[in-house]
């Protein structure tokens, strides 16, 4: 693999240390996929974990509401669309800091040569179901900017540029596709971009054969170990535990950061 690497975008907030989370994520990527990892951030960072630390310009903050705890927190999730220009690699695995790589399942996807692929199928480890998240009232399938693989290519550039265009005119696209206008979501921007650049849905850009393992806001982490994560979830008034050894995207940041802070 010539000049292939991963990029994580992470920005600290007053409450959460996303850069520390990115370090944990990067260590796992290096261990399982054997590729260098660069960090894109607006924060002032010194870390030996990353191949490169790329500073991007600061931007307006976003806010996120956690339904499970009824809390509103600062969310600095923008900047993903700049990764096409900022990545130091010819072939890039772009991933969220809260996506824990625990297998080499993505390795062969990285080794292939398609210009752009994004996660669309999702696997829920608490139900054992693969599903597609629906997007707004159009009920289109949502793409997940959590996981994108791309080459420096015309197609990838067009999709990233289109996603940035959607973010720049978010109110318009919210009305056109009928989805909630807050918070600003990269997932939605990339979903619209893929829909438009794929000839209004005629072409899909899925990472085939890979369903993104995802735990929702109601799933807690009991243990965050080097090669597995012990989760706790409730179903029909019972509480269950599962030890997850696959890759895992954790949406419950409150529980995630509790475990990270404990381990320091």
């Amino acid at each position: 693999m010539s000049n292939t690497g991963a990029v994580i975008v992470a920005n600290n907030t007053d409450r959460f240390n996303y850069v520390r989370l990115a370090e944990i994520c990067a260590e796992r990527v290096q261990r399982h996929l054997k590729i260098p990892v660069s960090l894109v951030t607006t924060s002032d960072v010194t870390s030996t974990v990353f191949d490169k630390i790329i500073i991007m310009e600061s931007y307006e903050q976003n806010q996120r509401f956690f339904t499970a705890t009824q809390e509103k927190t600062e969310w600095r999730n923008m900047g993903r669309t700049q990764v096409y220009d900022l990545t130091p690699y010819d072939r890039t695995l772009l991933l969220d800091a809260d996506l824990f790589i625990q297998t080499n399942a993505l390795l062969n996807h990285i080794k292939t040569n398609n210009d752009f692929a994004i996660a669309r199928d999702v696997y829920d480890p608490t139900t054992g179901h693969i599903y597609k998240m629906k997007f707004g009232k159009t009920q289109m399938d949502q793409c997940w900017a959590t996981l994108v693989i791309f080459n420096k290519s015309e197609l990838a550039r067009n999709i990233f540029d289109m996603a940035q265009h959607v973010l720049n005119h978010y109110a318009y696209y919210c009305r056109l596709y009928n989805f909630a206008d807050v918070p600003l979501r990269n997932d939605y921007a990339f979903t619209v971009a893929c829909h438009l650049m794929g000839g209004y849905g005629q072409r899909h850009f899925d990472i085939t054969g890979y369903a993104l393992p995802n735990c929702d806001f109601y799933t807690d982490i009991l243990e965050l170990n080097t090669d597995n994560i012990l989760i706790k979830y409730s179903k029909q008034e019972k509480t269950y535990v599962q030890r997850i050894k696959s890759d895992l995207h954790m949406q419950n940041k409150l529980s995630l950061f509790e475990r990270i802070n404990e381990s320091r």
Binding site: T103, K111, A117, G209, Q242, S246
Partner: protein, 106 residues
Amino acid sequence: MDIDNLQRQAQLSFDHAIAKKNLQQRIQSRLNVTYNDGFFTVTKEQINFLDLLGSQSVVLLDDYQTPIEVNAFELLKIMFQRYHEIMNEWLEEYEQLKKIRSAKHV
């Protein structure tokens, strides 16, 4: 561990069926190979088809619908090896999973 923690621990459950599905999902996501920049899921059908072709050079569509020129024998060898490796791992982990009787053993 205090009594509250012990009680909470005792109330936890383990769902064997879900754990089996999680194992299946994890293993199957790795049941694939790359060849000439193409991405191929390893299936029994694909193995059989390649076996039929012998040592011919042939064009196959990969999982991303890209036509890839392959040497059937070479790809068969790679797929067969991957199939064995992953299925053996599956069996081994399945046997371990069967031993889990309750949440405290997870």
